[in-house]
Symmetry: C2
């Protein structure tokens, strides 16, 4: 049988999984630092929980099937809809506002391409239960702090608001809500397909060609700045639009006060393809031209209507989602992925069968002190074992021959310096710790 | 729409997910300490990769479906078969012996019951590429050290060897290999169903009734000890059986030398239901009678033929797998699950809209120093905010009113002691750290 993975799926071997895991730990620590607590949901949901939440295009990408009980089920498509279900289902047990983070894989039967996989890990932080500029800002701060924690300098968070989009569309002459939503889904593709294709898509949905042209001019050549938004929107002039502008400005102020102002930029072309966003929306783009085409690496927004689909109460919420595997793919392309620490610092050799117990005993002693150690499980000549130790990236090899067993000693060999020295069993743990930490 | 989870699946809310995550981190750290490195595989595999590896009963429990490209796919059933595929597929890139660990969910359409879920996380450590008593012992030491790391005293690892099982079956009169395997699958159920039902299952497979009775007497009443195994097996008398006994003894010696001898016990009734085991096998049972019925929480064994199903080379391997969710369920039943740290130690209040920026700025400062802090996102009266702070489990509330903004100060309030004190902005990080660490 030919061993193979499905297209769009991949194995993460230790050399890349070790830094990937380090990224996950840094992300989780940063979310926790911002007051978010962990929550986990099943990979499989009732199909009806997920269907209809992501628009027609999203619906088609759901991995769905009938389970053993003939129930229609689907693999989760994102972490946001399951969170909405959880908040509705357990709202008696949960204290609102809830700040939860979740790191978990999601599945989309999308066309695999650069930075786009059919299985990928999302790292989400959301605040459910409050609609406020502070909640928006806190979520953005958590996301931006993650970029700092991952030492990613070349990234900008592009910020917009659905209310601003609606206002700009109205002032350009798109009055119908369904047409506005279809236009938003088309505008969302401006960074992926040419403007004329976006225009054709809008016209296909029923937007008059010259109106579509005016809309796209607005988003591509005019591009109002945050400062000029009130003027640009003057003909829309409804309260909701100006509230949207005010919220945008307030969020920028707050995120700036928290020290992340240099990372955010207002961008009226940000639209987000998903239907459930109602307020602030954002996407994070890498600034390095070599990976600009890889798409958004951290996105999200406010979705005040989603939880209400699962319960009577309207519970507002806002969240941010980092696409771990796309970001990792970009870092690998840029040569910025951390070196995988798939090594082991201490390698305990086995001199001969008569000393194997002593070797295991020594390893137990080192590990109990928190040192990472491996015992050679292959055996054979000491030279071969030392070669394996070097291949495993070990700094120190420990040797316990019959003489050492009798004298209750251990020989340590520094594999980079080539020197070796004998230690009493009681002092070997401390010596090993010092040896693996000393410079070459 | 009624929000609901599928039967056999569950949400882990923060109060239980926080300690669950702490367990995962302790398990991963312990595996790393034993020289294992992380590896991750997709949740979905080609059906042919998984089918036929777990016996007929396992095959029926696979979640399988046709994907968008009409490929037959299945959700992974365990982490062992995917590892075998990975080793075969990437053997040019991997350095053998490979010590890998993986923590990931698996899916089985099993009948949900106490401690048995349809989705559950497995924590596996395996050594592929070598067949030796040291490899067996190293895997066992890693598993036993995990029990120590999780502070689980009441657990015993029951050890057996497929070769001993085959020898005992042969001496009892079951000579045919297919009947031996069917008998092993039946014997594996001795801790779940009554002996007469196991006997009926063996007879159903074609074992004569009196032979089945003799076999079960051997496993239930006679139960040879490790010391008496050679005598008990004397009529089997083939080299493979005595090698199996010798391996068992050697592994016990090595695990004992590593300091874990008090946790392991030879148990001839351990059979393991899966077909792929070829050598050492083991199951870990909790000793507390209240949760004895929950089944094995950490199991595994040697599977020297599995990788060879995917490539020409016969690559031996041994592994151990901890069932995180079953263990957690048992700890919850025993009242031993760690308290979920779903709290936040520092709660930054927002005095009024004019001071919100200062509050965010303070939070940014505290978080940059590694402190876990949350900014109140709801607003309103300070008293209400302090109530929310207490509900979130915060130890310290920070208050920045207009006076504090003007004077570049912050008031800290100890929510347990009830006292408060004003600090200069430059010293507040250090003061906060001291306050959250001081005793009540």
């Amino acid at each position: 049988m030919e061993p193979r993975t499905l297209k769009g799926f991949r194995d993460y071997l230790p050399a890349i999984e070790a830094p990937r895991k380090a990224m996950i730990r840094a992300i989780e620590a940063t979310f926790e630092c911002h007051g978010f607590v962990p929550l986990q949901t099943p990979a499989l949901e009732y199909l009806e929980t997920l269907a209809g939440k992501y628009g027609d295009e999203g619906d088609k990408l759901l991995y769905r099937f009938a389970d053993h009980g003939a129930r229609d089920v689907a693999l989760r498509y994102d972490l946001t809809v399951p969170l909405a279900r959880v908040v509705a289902q357990h709202r008696g047990e949960l204290q609102l506002p809830l700040r939860r983070y979740q790191v978990a894989p999601v599945w989309r039967a999308d066309k695999p391409q650069r930075g786009r996989f059919r299985e990928f890990v999302q790292c989400d932080a959301d605040i459910a239960g409050v609609d406020s500029a502070i909640a928006d800002a806190e979520v953005l701060c958590a996301g931006l702090a993650v970029l700092d924690a991952l030492h990613i300098d070349g990234a900008r968070l592009h910020l917009n608001h659905r209310g601003v989009l609606f206002g700009l569309l109205r002032t350009a002459g798109v009055a119908d809500l369904a047409l506005q939503l279809a236009s938003i889904r088309a505008i969302d593709k401006l960074d992926k397909i040419p403007a004329h294709a976006v225009r054709a898509e809008m016209v296909g949905h029923g937007v008059p060609d010259e109106v579509a042209g005016a809309v796209l001019a607005r988003f591509t050549t005019e591009r109002p700045a945050l400062e000029g938004l009130d003027a640009a929107l003057s003909t829309a002039s409804d309260a909701a639009t100006f509230e949207a502008v005010a919220r945008l400005r307030r969020v920028v102020e707050l995120v700036t006060a928290a020290g992340h102002g240099d990372r955010i930029v207002f961008d009226p072309t940000i639209a987000r393809g998903l239907d459930y966003y109602t307020g602030l929306i954002y996407e994070t783009r890498l600034t390095d031209a070599r990976v600009a085409g890889i798409g958004a690496v951290m996105s999200g927004g406010r979705y005040d209507g989603l939880i209400g689909l699962f319960c009577k109460d309207a519970i507002p919420a806002v969240g941010i989602s980092l696409g771990l595997d796309r970001l990792l793919a970009a870092l690998v392309e840029l040569g910025l992925a951390a070196d995988g620490d798939a090594r082991v610092p201490v390698y305990v050799t086995v001199f001969d069968p008569s000393t194997a117990q002593a070797a295991l005993g020594l390893a137990g002693r080192l590990r109990a002190a928190g040192l990472r150690a491996e015992v050679d499980a292959v055996g054979g000549k000491l030279g071969k074992q030392l070669e394996r130790a070097s291949k495993r990236g070990a700094r120190v090899a420990a040797i316990v021959g019959p003489e050492e067993v009798a004298a209750q000693t251990v020989v340590l060999k520094d594999l980079r310096r080539g020197v070796q020295e004998r230690f009493a069993l009681e002092t070997v743990t401390q010596a090993t710790r010092e040896w693996i930490e000393r410079p070459d």
